[in-house]
């Protein structure tokens, strides 16, 4: 929280002196400040950057990320310059990799002879639950090959969500481009698994719906009506996945930031006790809820991906 609040204070401070120094980048409104925190940016905020600048150790509160020239691929412009969210995605990936490989070393080989314990045991509990109750239960027989994907998805999203709750952190999963990409990857996996299980004919039937026991014109009519519906259904699933994760992560942060912002909105008009204590209590409560939501949304994303894979594999 402090991390989020701090740059705001940095900004608020010159705001008071805005008349004296308007060029300082002050004069940010609360709304602009909040948007700045939930959207992507080309800079990384330095932890304690404001304080460090004040004591003269550094002269800026953020690191400018390198910029590359955009690549033109047909109609698509690809700007590969890393952004704050890309950095945090990468950080999440590194953290997941370190934790999981460490867990693997703790459970594998000689360590397998001992009873499981500690953090590795906690991770194992998650892995077992995701394997048995999420992947295998929903995908059904032959779901073992999808377990690594489900596990990676869950832990990657969880870590990205949690990084957003840290001071100076950024929620990469609060970026619609990130969630849309993850949902797209899930869509590809869902369709490929359907194709592999059902074969070309069976897979085609999940797109072109031909009802049994109808005269030919009935079948043609139903196919004509249902095909767009089926296609829409295929696209709607990942769309819902993407929007659900993005909206949940963004909304939580917006609420927390708005509550903290209340302090500064109310400060001039009320005594300091009420405008400070009430928003802080509420913001802390929402933060606790956010911790749960971070876990829940990662779980839902992994769960629904498994459910969709199971659905298409058992489609007839």
């Amino acid at each position: 929280m402090i991390g989020r609040l701090w740059p705001w204070l940095q900004a608020a401070e010159p705001q008071a002196e805005a008349a004296a120094a308007p060029a300082e980048g002050g004069g940010l409104t609360l709304g602009e400040m909040i948007m700045h925190h939930v959207t992507d940016s080309r800079e990384l905020e330095i932890p304690f950057g404001g304080a460090l600048r004040r004591i003269g150790l550094i002269d800026r509160t953020a690191i400018e990320l390198p910029r590359f020239d955009p690549i033109q691929l047909g109609p698509v412009t690809l700007d590969l310059s890393p952004t704050k969210h890309v950095v945090f995605l990468f950080l999440a990936a590194i953290l997941v990799a370190v934790v999981m490989i460490w867990t693997a070393r703790k459970t594998h080989g000689k360590a397998a002879e001992r009873a499981p314990k500690g953090v590795a045991n906690l991770i194992e509990a998650f892995v077992i639950y995701l394997r048995d109750e999420v992947a295998l239960r929903n995908i059904g027989h032959g779901g073992e090959r999808y377990v690594p994907y489900v596990l990676t998805l869950f832990f990657f999203i969880l870590f990205a969500n949690l990084l957003g709750l840290l001071p100076w952190g950024a929620t990469a999963t609060g970026n619609i481009a990130v969630t849309a990409t993850l949902a797209f990857l899930s869509l590809v996996l869902i369709e490929v698994s359907g194709f592999r299980t059902l074969g070309p004919r069976g897979y085609l039937r999940t797109i072109v719906f031909v009802p049994e026991g109808m005269p030919w014109y009935g079948k043609a009519l139903m196919a004509a009506i249902m095909t767009p519906v089926e296609l829409l259904g295929k696209v709607a699933k990942p769309f819902a996945l993407a929007v659900r994760l993005f909206a949940n992560m963004t909304a939580g942060h917006l609420v927390v930031l708005a509550l903290v912002g209340l302090i500064f909105v109310a400060a001039p008009v009320a005594s300091w006790i009420l405008p400070v204590i009430a928003p802080v209590v509420m913001a802390v409560a929402i933060m606790v809820l956010e911790l749960f939501v971070a876990l829940l949304q990662a779980f839902i994303f992994a769960m629904l991906t498994s459910v969709f894979i199971g659905l298409i594999r058992h489609a007839h």
Binding site: E32, D40, S41, H108
Partner: protein, 183 residues
């Protein structure tokens, strides 16, 4: 300014809006996620899932072995119980036989002792009777002789010795018979 209008304004402005889709970010997401997927599958999920499966298998084996051991133990216990019961029964039987044998021996000894005692008693009685007979015979003869001697002394003077002797003898026989009838 309310938040929603800001969101819309920023979106319309096109610079860093909340609904902006940055293709570069998408590209990096794909790269990062797929790399993570490959790395984790190779270095984390396979070892972890393998170890989990191995452990599950081992626990199952141990449980199976335990169940088998219990069945075996129950069987052994049953065996032992049966053997114990048999041994007890045998002991009982041996004891009973011993008791019977000793009873028989005791009975035999008792009977033999009784028989011996009776035989001895009978012999003693017989000897006693014989002795008595002999004593009576001797007494009779003595008495006859004495009486005769006394009578002859007496009759020597006044009577025919032969006649007297017969008289005395018949008298003595009567005495003897009465004595025999009432010993």
């Amino acid at each position: 300014m309310n938040l929603f209008t800001i969101v819309l304004q920023e979106h319309e402005a096109g610079g860093g809006g909340i609904f902006d889709i940055n293709t570069g970010v998408m590209f990096w997401t794909v790269v990062i996620f797929l790399t993570l997927l490959v790395v984790l599958t190779r270095f984390a999920w396979r070892p972890i899932l393998g170890a989990l499966e191995a452990r599950e298998r081992r626990i199952q084996e141990i449980l199976d072995a335990a169940a088998q051991d219990r069945v075996e133990a129950e069987r052994l216990l049953e065996d032992q119980r049966r053997q114990l019961a048999e041994a007890r029964q045998q002991a009982q039987q041996i004891l009973a036989e011993g008791k019977q044998a000793s009873e028989r021996v005791r009975q035999e000894l008792l009977e033999r002792a009784k028989a011996e005692q009776e035989a001895m008693l009978a012999r003693a009685r017989q000897e006693l009777t014989q002795e008595k007979e002999r004593a009576l015979e001797a007494l009779r003869r003595e008495a006859v002789d004495l009486s005769l001697a006394a009578a002859s002394k007496l009759v020597e003077r006044r009577l025919n010795a032969e006649e007297d002797r017969r008289l005395v003898r018949s008298f003595l026989e009567r005495v003897g018979t009465e004595a025999g009838e009432q010993p």
